[in-house]
Assembly symmetry: C2
Amino acid sequence: MRERVETLRQRLNLVEGEAYLTTTSHHLYYLTGFTGGEGYLIITGESIKLLVDGRYTTQAADEVWDGVEVILFTKIWEELPSYLKEIKKLWIEENVITVKFINKLREIVPWIETFSGADEYLYKMRMVKDEYERTLIEKAIDIAQNAFLKTLEIIRPGVTERDIASELCYHMRRLGGDKESFDIIVASGYRGALPHGVASDKKVKEGEVIVIDWGAFYKGYVSDLTRMVVVGKISEKAEEVLQAVKGAQETAIRGAKCCMTAKEIDALARNYLKDKGLAEYFTHSLGHGIGIEIHEMPRVSYMSDEIIDKNIIFTIEPGVYLPGEFGVRIEDDVMMTENGVIVLSSLDKIFRL
Amino acid sequence: MRERVETLRQRLNLVEGEAYLTTTSHHLYYLTGFTGGEGYLIITGESIKLLVDGRYTTQAADEVWDGVEVILFTKIWEELPSYLKEIKKLWIEENVITVKFINKLREIVPWIETFSGADEYLYKMRMVKDEYERTLIEKAIDIAQNAFLKTLEIIRPGVTERDIASELCYHMRRLGGDKESFDIIVASGYRGALPHGVASDKKVKEGEVIVIDWGAFYKGYVSDLTRMVVVGKISEKAEEVLQAVKGAQETAIRGAKCCMTAKEIDALARNYLKDKGLAEYFTHSLGHGIGIEIHEMPRVSYMSDEIIDKNIIFTIEPGVYLPGEFGVRIEDDVMMTENGVIVLSSLDKIFRL
């Protein structure tokens, strides 16, 4: 994984007198392998130093990749300056570093002349996945899918949304997931029209469609899926919307090619739904990157000019929400390749009880 | 809950030309009742304005308490200045507001002369719980305890730590918990010596002691408990340490009085363990506040001079960790009253299979 740091050095063009400093837990993991979450990572052209406190020294030493030097600190504000002695320009995460932190930094390393924002560089790097990351995401998908199939066994009229979420969380852990990758959404009937309706005590009823949006964490990487469960006989309207969303999702999957922009991919599904007269009910973006976080770059939105290059892993999840009636969303995790996207998830799109 | 805002105004001494601005999700909930997590809350001497985007307007309008005005924003950086027109001094969370955010603020509201740190005020307010908060924490404790009793049924030699954590997470949800309040710790045998050993695939064995540290979220409030499970016959040494930690915990509970300092309370348990020759293996603080977050003020540590006033809810959790051998921790949630602490949790301290 040494090459990640190498890439960062090149992107930032780290020359003598410059360093990159991060405390962002996800970046610590991405750049060093350390999962403890708390530490100070200092990268210069020559060295990679991870400063951790006494709780983490053993763990960090076990976890970090070759080339990362683990250093125990006791009083960070007294010890940090010695690691930034020759530095004139420091790259920091301006979207993470707090006012308190930067004020303290300015006080203890007054010789640093420039603080520059490194945010975008890291997030753009993390957007493109390597083989190892893909393997972990595939495993997280596998866990989520198998847990879903187990959970299906208990879904029938009368069970609550909470019952369904409890089963998913149980099976994902049993199957090797570390936990759910976000608050599980189980939204049945009229609750389906809330795009983020986390599981409630509402009972599932005959004739409803259920939106289930869930995912697992596996060794620091996530999956994110949405499937529809149809309980018995549903209205013609519900059936039409189901098919429309399925059609929109499949159209986007078939049409997404390297290296379209995010908004071109978003438009594939949005235009399909426009033809069906449903575009106004598709009230969110088509998708988002996944990886160490559940929402990463790129945003696959109608406003984004981001180029979707190969090895970017993201969700394709069109949805239609009819307030007071029901909602439909179908979501897969896909990876862009030279020949279009491959779908990493494999469950049927719609399950009928 | 209007009085929370009133208290804040008094503590900050908010006069004309001053306002408090927060985006911290926990503070939004504490001060307005809004659970959506994303928004901009502006409090002046006269008004309480919560700015949210289109995803949250309905939810915010449903949830906020009397006196909070919900305002829809579309482009925050263009609209924010109009709400800060007369403001010369703005209170912000310096430990939360990022460099990016403050730079943007300085640009769009150049007439603001002073930015002051409000961090401490909010955390100190949240430290002291009202009746409503206590009720929610008690419910979160109730859910965690009942889930534990259900989980006990499956614990026997051969089950993995992961199995145990899966059961806990399942039952906490089924019993009305929204999710676990932190990553469940199940650490058996030698793994118990890791104070934060989250559940692994290790199997529980005859003769081991298991540290189980878990809690539930209930309507935004947490519980946090640790219990020991003894599997069959254990060594004399393990039994001694178990009794020592239990004694230390009970001593701290009996001895903690209003209004001792945090370090005086910490010392009750630490001195007890010192007498047993175990103090050096008690490598963390005695406890911490709980509430909306799993770790709140006060830190009940040997270094803290914080006064533990009545209605502060916190954990008492001494632990002894013998690297390579085993670990023992026992944790209850307690509330300070005029007559010492009352223990909100009620499970036996040690369970023997």
